[in-house]
């Protein structure tokens, strides 16, 4: 390398040094350490003791672990597609030529801004078994609402409902993408006599496919790690642990039982699950994603 190149390397590394330090201290070291801990019995107070695969074996024979995984998957399987479809639907409606678009956009976006602790409180109140407004409204149309928070069948649907309320973020992302779709495409589709549905399927969806993919991946990562809502609303896991989510159980192992080794093992299994699902999502959608300019 020339002197100038050496100089650039030095200056460049100096500029990214905050990131390098952060990477070493908050990503690389912790990641390696947690792999090590996952093979140890470790309670923070004494030194970690190597126990080989015992944590992993315990985990796979732990009924609560499987329950938490099931609950999390149940939540993801419903909240993810629901969120993707509803936010896209709202975005498409807002992308029509309508009056007061900014107002509508704000209305649909606002709930996603509410701090998660506050929204958990609001929903605890709305879903309250005795004075809850939701069951009152269901009663008005002749439906007998369940005891959302105390009935183990309904705790997960409660959380899914909450997640749909907070789709504003992905809705705004869709809306931005929809507004970037060139008008000419629609105009030529119109000349070809395409119906509204055809335009949607053959123009809109392909043009915004990268954003759908982005929302899908973000959704997978977010849904599998959901923590604050179930933790706040159901504490130890709700009726019959029906709302004990993966991240909540992981947290309990780490900070309630001080099973740091077990928690680390759970974290790596979570990583593998997320990685695998992201890979599957990428593999299956890749052919359908259209990147303009490629």
């Amino acid at each position: 390398m020339t002197r100038g190149e050496w100089r650039n390397l030095g200056v460049g590394l100096a500029f990214i040094s905050p990131w390098i330090i952060g990477f070493l201290a908050f990503t690389l070291y912790p990641a390696l350490a947690s792999i090590y801990y996952s093979f140890c019995d470790y309670d923070v107070f004494s030194r970690p003791v190597w126990i080989g695969l015992l944590n992993y074996r315990d985990m796979f024979t732990d009924k609560v672990f499987w329950k938490s995984l099931y609950n999390t998957m149940y939540y993801a399987v419903f909240s993810l597609p629901l969120g993707l479809v509803i936010s896209l639907l709202i975005a498409v409606m807002l992308n029509q030529q309508i009056q007061a678009r900014p107002l509508f956009r704000t209305i649909y976006f606002l709930p996603s801004l509410v701090p998660v602790v506050a929204s958990a409180m609001i929903w605890l109140w709305i879903l309250n078994g005795k004075y809850g407004i939701l069951n009152y409204l269901l009663g008005l149309v002749g439906l007998q609402g369940p005891d959302w928070l105390a009935d183990e069948l309904w705790t997960k649907p409660s959380l899914i409902l909450m997640s749909v309320w907070g789709v504003g973020g992905s809705m705004v992302i869709y809306l931005a993408a929809l507004q970037d779709v060139p008008r000419e495409l629609y105009e030529s589709a119109l000349i070809d006599g395409a119906s509204a549905w055809h335009k949607f399927v053959h123009v809109t969806i392909p043009m915004i496919s990268p954003v759908i993919y982005f929302n899908l991946i973000m959704g997978i990562i977010g849904a599998l790690q959901v923590f604050a809502q179930p933790y706040i609303m159901f504490g130890g896991g709700g009726p019959n642990r029906s709302a004990l989510f993966y991240a909540v159980y992981l947290y309990q192992n780490a900070f309630d039982y001080y099973e740091m080794g077990f928690a680390s093992a759970m974290a790596w299994v979570l990583f593998i699950i997320i990685f695998f699902l992201t890979w599957v999502a990428t593999r299956t959608t890749r052919r359908h994603i259209y990147y303009a300019g490629e």
């Binding site: 190149e5 200056v11 460049g12 590394l13 500029f15 990214i16 905050p18 990131w19 952060g22 990477f23 908050f26 990503t27 070291y29 912790p30 990641a31 350490a33 947690s34 801990y37 709202i90 409606m93 807002l94 029509q96 309508i98 509508f104 956009r105 704000t106 976006f109 606002l110 801004l113 701090p115 998660v116 602790v117 506050a118 929204s119 409180m121 609001i122 929903w123 605890l124 109140w125 309250n128 005795k130 004075y131 407004i133 009152y136 309320w165 992905s170 705004v172 992302i173 809306l175 931005a176 954003v211 599998l224 933790y231 706040i232 991240a247 992981l250 947290y251 928690a263 974290a267 979570l270």
Partner: protein, 386 residues
Amino acid sequence: MKERYYGRLVGRVVLYVVLLAGSVVFMLPLAWMISTALKPIEQTMSMPPTWIPHRHFAEIDGRRMPVKKGETFTEPCYVVYDGLLARRFVVPQSQVREGRLIRHNISGETERIPVDILEEIPASVTEPWVRVFPEERVPGPQARDQWWVVPSNRLTAKIAPRWENFVNAIRAMKYFPLYLKNTLILCFLTVVGTVFSSSLAAYGFSRIQWRGRNKVFLVALATMMIPFPVVMVPIYCMFRWLGWIGTLRPLWVGSFFAGAFNVFLLRQFFLTIPKDLSDAARIDGCSELRIYWQIMLPLCRPALMVVALFQFMFTWNDFLGPLIYLTDQKTFTLALGLQFFQSQHGGTEWHYLMAASTLVALPVIVLFFFTQKTFIEGISMTGLKG
């Protein structure tokens, strides 16, 4: 042609109806929070629910006074005085005969209790009467006996939000001012830390050509894949080893070391600024640090605003971090403090809980209204560049 026009018209009507209905659904939880926050406790638990907080007034002895509503009577009653208990009761006229109250006691025997009839209540299904209590009872031995029965049509309701609920909620949360202070300190430090460290790193990743830059940047991108739980335990142990558990430090120190996501966002923006600009400055003998500080930062204000705003929101809303690291109530943030309050008082004082929730949510919402453009642009940016 005409058919087509009607088809479009119907389509538009349907569109607006759906949009409006959706808006109502999306706004209802927030409206319900605010409505509950402004009610007295008995209106939070009324069925059917009270939508608009109000106060009742009744005319008693020719004076209009604020009252609380009690039960409704729909059959003729007497207000009777039981001398033995020294208390007044409202009983159906059918249970009183010849100055005696006839009723069955617990063991099923019929009792005839001598009572004085004080007042006749000609209530009926069409003209119900209501028992009312003074809003503030006068303390003393007679405190339990302060009530009147008035015709329900003489009872007037007036919309009256209880702003004092907010003051009371703050008092009930005990350390609310400290929560707010801690949250603001954290917001300030994390915003400053994030903006400076990520813009520095983004500059290094975009404006200086150095060997291996793209490879290192790929590593940076890859770190975004790692979920927080993977690094959570060792980071906790590290802060524990430093003796920082129970202090605010674990919650802000990390932000001074450039998170990959923000670096990525800013790098994308930095790349759009023409190279000639920095080259010209370099020829003039400007150091890289000066180019960064005096040229890049001012030009990238919109992107920096986005990063600052998102970081502020993240810190304000963060729950897991404070939950892990904070042990003393006095160091709690608002989010953690609200959850703590709920776990202590949950299930009864819904009006205070909703008032407190409003106080936690409102600043974020107000901030959004002032920075709407930055916000929406920022979110769209994260989606489109991703």
